[in-house]
């Protein structure tokens, strides 16, 4: 595959980098990334990956665009209110870069569909906002041997880690189970600063790009935490004794995907 003149110009700032170059840009154009969640994290991730020329981007989300989303979900605009988020996201990505093939999945990820969907992709982005989905994505990626980037944001804080099969702990090694539904006394809307999605989602895009071009060090074996109020980033080393993990360990006890129940909370945001 050779570049068109337009592509040479569009990706010139990548091609000029010795770590990416023409070879890396071709890898990006041939890569397939699935983004689960077209919200605060998924929005910036999707836009940077589309702009970077990731050739195939899958985007999964069951929701429609709501006014309260627009404070942080910058892939959607006021004109998109009521539209499926995946549709709005696809339009923005294709406006940014017509090179990108966008596949939309207007559905919730469940134990029934996730493995089949992620099978087609090289890298998965967890941009979801709830624990049942995060554990489902982790377990499915472990079972399908797919690398993925976990991230979470809340208020002024964020975290992310990267799982690569065989290279360090998975999300379940670190957080054994979702917080139990019945054990949760109350839930409150937490709030999040919109720019947190931009910070952490952009870091997820960076992990995907490094994985695809095969350069640099990924956040495998580390949890990166960010506190916007104190402006502190911490790269916390995670234990590497993962052999007892119920899903990625040497003798897994979780061999089927689990659909956990989301804790009941007052009032959807």
């Amino acid at each position: 595959m050779s570049f068109t003149n337009e592509q040479l110009e569009r990706y010139s700032r990548h091609i000029i980098l010795k770590e990416i170059g023409a070879k890396g840009q071709k890898k990006l154009l041939n890569a397939k990334v699935l983004i689960i969640g077209a919200g605060g994290l998924g929005a910036p991730t999707a836009m940077y990956l589309a702009a970077a020329g990731v050739g195939t981007i899958g985007i999964a989300d069951a929701d429609e665009v709501d006014l309260s989303n627009l404070q942080r979900q910058i892939i959607h605009a006021t004109k998109d209110l009521g539209k499926p988020k995946v549709q709005s996201a696809k339009e923005t990505m294709n406006d940014l870069n017509p090179d990108v093939q966008v596949n939309t999945y207007h559905t919730f990820m469940t134990s029934e569909n996730i493995r089949e969907i992620i099978r087609d992709y090289d890298f998965v982005i967890d941009g979801t906002d709830n624990f049942p989905a995060k554990f489902l994505i982790n377990d499915a990626c472990v079972m399908e041997k797919k690398p993925f980037s976990h991230a979470g944001i809340i208020r002024f804080k964020g975290q992310l880690m990267t799982y690569v099969p065989g290279e360090g702990p998975c999300y379940r090694c670190v957080f054994k189970d979702p917080p139990p539904k019945d054990a949760v006394p109350t839930c409150k809307q937490a709030g999040v600063v919109g720019a947190m999605g931009g910070v952490i989602g952009s870091l997820q895009a960076m992990e995907a790009i490094k994985y695809i071009v095969g350069k640099g060090q990924l956040l495998t074996g580390y949890l990166l935490t960010y506190d916007a109020l104190t402006m502190e980033f911490r790269k916390i080393k995670l234990p590497h004794n993962t052999e007892n993990c119920p899903v990625c360990g040497t003798h897994p006890t979780i061999t089927q995907l689990i659909d956990y129940e989301q804790a009941e909370c007052d009032g959807a945001l």
Partner: protein
Amino acid sequence: MKIIVAGEAKEVKDGLTIAQLLIDEQVETPEYVTVTVNDDFIDSSKFEITNLQENDTVEFLYYMGGGRYVVY
């Protein structure tokens, strides 16, 4: 004795348990925090009986979902 908690050196009493450290550090939801000491995950059932040693490095890892809900 000296230990390192979340990257900061602290002076604590000898033999402090993880359960007590969680209280001293005012960790909001100790039942949902993952604790690592040096290079090991510590099971939450062991918090009461795990005594920290001089120069141990302790990290608290918190569940973090999205902005929509928080668990208290």
